[in-house]
């Protein structure tokens, strides 16, 4: 009833091919953006910013990168965290060695380096597919971390092998409070998500989807697989590189290469699987699920323990949290194998007919 598009007519081609053709969608997104940019910075506590919102957004950006590669282009990759590490360490080196470089340019530089590395490790995709490609990208994960640990230049010959992120300063304005960091991360993520959405709706997105669905047929009709696949690796690694730089600068502050280990790669892969492969929204939903739900369970178990005075031993509480989390993953994947984004899509379709059943 509320979600009908009856009465909304498009009179130009541009209006017809807009990202959000239905007015209610536009209002909804505007509200979400107002809440995100205005309401949350004014009302949320520093804990919410630094421990929940910032990591959720940063990992959503990395998941978006992986979704472009795996969801749209069909190239399975397990090296996401390694490309994030490249972005982080190269941003650090750009700011360290080029005095006066603008912060955003350093992040972009880190992203471009990650894109170059992504192209290099994406070369096997021209010959192998699926599971075997995943193994090749796994090699990227281990090799890049090994390289960052071994070659002292990346960490400025620090004896412990860690880098300490420099303070973030744009045009003389320092981003050091959690609010400011949150707003910076949110702006970068919004712009890049918009870019991703436009990319997948355009020519290159269709090429990727054609390669994903049937790459031999795509080649037959004239899509050049080398360009499309390597571009997918490049764009995806750029997103992961920027996310990695933000992870170091806006979140942890001091990072060792181990912070970008295989565990993080798997987490991001799980984010897109649960959120929905092949969708932009899926990256955000999956990130919220994987980042926020364990913490909510932890707080919930502690809260229940305090109010009901059960005196549950902490190890039981922690294991319970892991079990519930695993159970929820299995539940969601059985209920909707295509992920939370598909659940949202079905909800919207049903809303269009509501209150009628069909």
């Amino acid at each position: 009833m509320l979600y009908r598009e009856a009465g909304q007519f498009k009179s130009t081609y541009a209006a017809d091919s807009a990202i959000l053709p239905i007015r209610q969608d536009r209002i909804g997104l505007a509200l979400i953006l107002i809440v995100a940019f205005v309401v949350v910075p004014l009302t949320a506590s520093p804990y919410l910013f630094s421990a929940l919102l910032i990591p959720c957004l940063i990992l959503a950006l990395a998941a978006l990168g992986l979704n472009l590669l795996t969801g749209y282009a069909g190239q399975l990759s397990l090296g996401t965290a390694a490309f994030m590490a490249v972005g982080a360490f190269m941003s650090y080196n750009f700011i360290l060695r080029i005095p006066g470089i603008p912060l955003l340019l350093a992040f972009a530089g880190g992203g471009v380096t990650a894109a170059a590395v992504g192209i290099l490790f994406g070369l096997p995709s021209l010959r192998i597919r699926g599971f075997y490609l995943a193994v090749a990208t796994l090699a990227a994960q281990f090799f890049i971390l090994w390289c960052l640990t071994k070659v002292g230049w990346f960490t400025n010959y620090n004896p412990s092998g860690v880098i300490t992120a420099q303070p973030m300063v744009i045009l003389g304005y320092a981003f050091d409070t959690p609010q400011e960091k949150y707003l910076l991360v949110l702006s970068i993520v919004t712009v890049m998500a918009l870019a991703a959405k436009n990319m997948v709706r355009g020519n290159i997105g269709r090429q990727w989807m054609a390669i994903r669905d049937m790459d031999v047929a795509a080649e037959v009709i004239g899509i050049r697989p080398m360009r499309a696949k390597l571009l997918a690796f490049a764009v995806s690694s750029f997103y992961c590189g920027v996310a990695g730089a933000l992870f170091a600068y806006a979140y942890l502050g001091t990072v060792e290469p181990e912070a970008y280990n295989l565990d993080l790669s798997f987490r991001i892969l799980f984010m897109i699987i649960i959120g929905g492969v092949g969708t932009v929204l899926g990256a955000f939903l999956g990130s919220a699920f994987i980042v926020l739900l364990p913490i909510a369970l932890n707080i919930g178990v502690a809260f229940l323990d305090n109010t009901l005075h059960l005196n549950v031993p902490t190890s039981v509480g922690s294991n319970l949290e892991l079990m519930v989390f695993g159970g929820l993953i299995i539940f969601f994947l059985i209920v909707e194998p295509h992920g939370l984004a598909r659940i949202w899509q079905i909800t919207k379709e049903k809303l269009r007919l509501w209150p009628f059943p069909y």
Partner: protein, 437 residues
């Protein structure tokens, strides 16, 4: 996503409202890890700390102020650790101090604790240059840093050879966990190798290092006099078993204290007999304070460890050592700022910086011999720098040496140089210790 946030805020508010802010309570958040690959260490260590604080509360608290704690599971993960710290730091009137027992989490908290003005201890691990309190006022690598442990190891090997000068020409292999933790002592080993003239070969073990055939074959080719094992987790028993298989004598293997607990040697079985390892605290239940814990805390059913056989194990006593140091720091702060009052984090920081746990005081506490005397100061946030060496005989670790230190003059110089370099990079002005109290 929004309903997640709303549910979270609701739960947080409800959680805070249900716990009244009591007046006479000193709050210490416990960032523990009780699941995952390092659960044995985490549960032992934090269980020990909680046991000691339970004992302190049973004995009337610190001049009447009770210690209250809250645990949060970090799973040894840097993001979870940061989230736990941010969640707990404002509870119960504010956190007094925090100990993450993880290098990754400690790095993530470095800048946060300086901004929030909450002292962080990195008991026996962490960034060695943080021992210079002039550049790191909020970080305390209490007990011993990796650099002092490395120096002590070389001093012990020198002792075995009849004097450090006799190490000239000997071959020492350094097998390390290929991460920030493993690479930390390399500068000290390099410096001592240059000074004493022994040949140092570094062999990295990429974690988790469940097979180490190639590395130990390299060791067999090199035929070193000693192997220093700097591992963590499952790579320790694997190293001992592989060494046994390839015929390298285990009594020539010297382990770091994170490779020196029962959980590290028991899985290796007979292969571990003769293995020597370092420790910054003793273990066992033979100390009056341990007996008190067994009687009052476990006797009253308030003990934290579920498996009573682990009372007195190495991680358990390490946790008790840490808890004793923190309690004495708070007591020291109270002596200065007002007995019987709850100490603010800045005051606890003062207490940590003026900690003076002499041999006499340790005897009063019933912990004489449990760990060496600790005396911190503005420029020395470490306090002790002493280690003892123990040998595994198949059933337990038997003490080989008393608490001893290595070349602390050398490590102190390196700490100051490293801290100065860090201060230059981050544009921090070091504090002037002579101007403060």
């Amino acid at each position: 996503m929004k309903w997640f946030l709303q549910a979270l805020i609701g739960m947080l508010l409800a959680g805070v409202a249900s716990i009244a802010t009591a007046q006479n309570e000193q709050f210490i958040p416990v960032l523990s890890y009780r699941i995952g690959p390092y659960a044995a260490g985490g549960s032992g260590y934090f269980g020990g700390a909680i046991d000691y604080w339970t004992l302190v509360n049973l004995n009337g608290g610190i001049n009447g102020v009770k210690i209250v704690w809250e645990e949060c599971e970090t799973e040894y993960n840097a993001s979870r650790g940061v989230e736990c710290y941010e969640r707990l730091k404002t509870r119960h009137g504010g956190a007094s101090t925090v100990e993450p027992l993880s290098t990754g989490i400690a790095y993530g908290l470095f800048e946060r604790v300086a901004n929030d003005k909450i002292p962080m201890t990195t008991n026996g691990y962490g960034l060695a240059i943080a021992a210079d309190g002039r550049v790191f006022p909020w970080v305390f690598p209490l007990g011993t840093t990796y650099w002092d442990q490395a120096a002590a190891m070389i001093a012990y090997l020198g002792q075995k050879a009849g004097g450090e000068a006799n190490l000239k020409g000997k071959k020492i292999v350094f097998m390390y966990h290929d991460s920030a933790y493993g690479k930390e002592p390399i500068p000290v080993f390099d410096a001592l190798s240059a000074r004493d003239g022994f040949e140092l070969t570094k062999i990295p073990l990429t974690p988790p290092a469940t097979t180490q055939e190639s590395q130990w074959l390299q060791v067999r080719q090199l035929k070193p006099d000693y192997v220093i094992l700097w591992g963590y987790g499952v790579m320790n028993p694997v190293a001992l078993k592989t060494a046994a298989k390839l015929g390298y004598p285990r009594d020539h293997i010297l382990g770091v204290w994170w490779a020196a607990s029962e959980e590290d040697v028991i899985p290796a079985g007979d292969a571990a007999k003769g293995y020597v390892a370092a420790a910054f605290s003793a273990h066992g239940t033979n100390f009056p304070v341990m007996q008190e814990i067994v009687k009052k805390v476990y006797g009253g059913g308030k003990g934290n460890l579920e498996d009573k056989a682990r009372i007195g194990s190495i991680y358990h006593t390490r946790g008790i050592t840490y808890a004793i140091m923190i309690t004495e720091a708070i007591r020291q702060a109270q002596n200065h700022f007002g007995k019987g009052k709850v100490m603010s984090p800045e005051q606890v920081r003062w207490g940590l910086e003026h900690l003076d746990l002499s041999e006499a005081r340790l005897k009063e506490l019933g912990a004489s011999g449990l760990f060496p005397p600790v005396k911190t100061s503005c420029s020395d946030h470490e306090g002790s720098g002493m280690v003892k060496f123990e040998q595994w005989d198949g059933k337990e670790f038997k003490s080989l040496t008393p608490f001893m230190a290595g070349d602390r003059a050398l490590t102190k110089k390196m700490v100051e140089e490293g801290a100065a370099k860090y201060a230059g990079e981050k544009k921090i002005t070091p504090r002037d210790c002579s101007k403060e109290g």
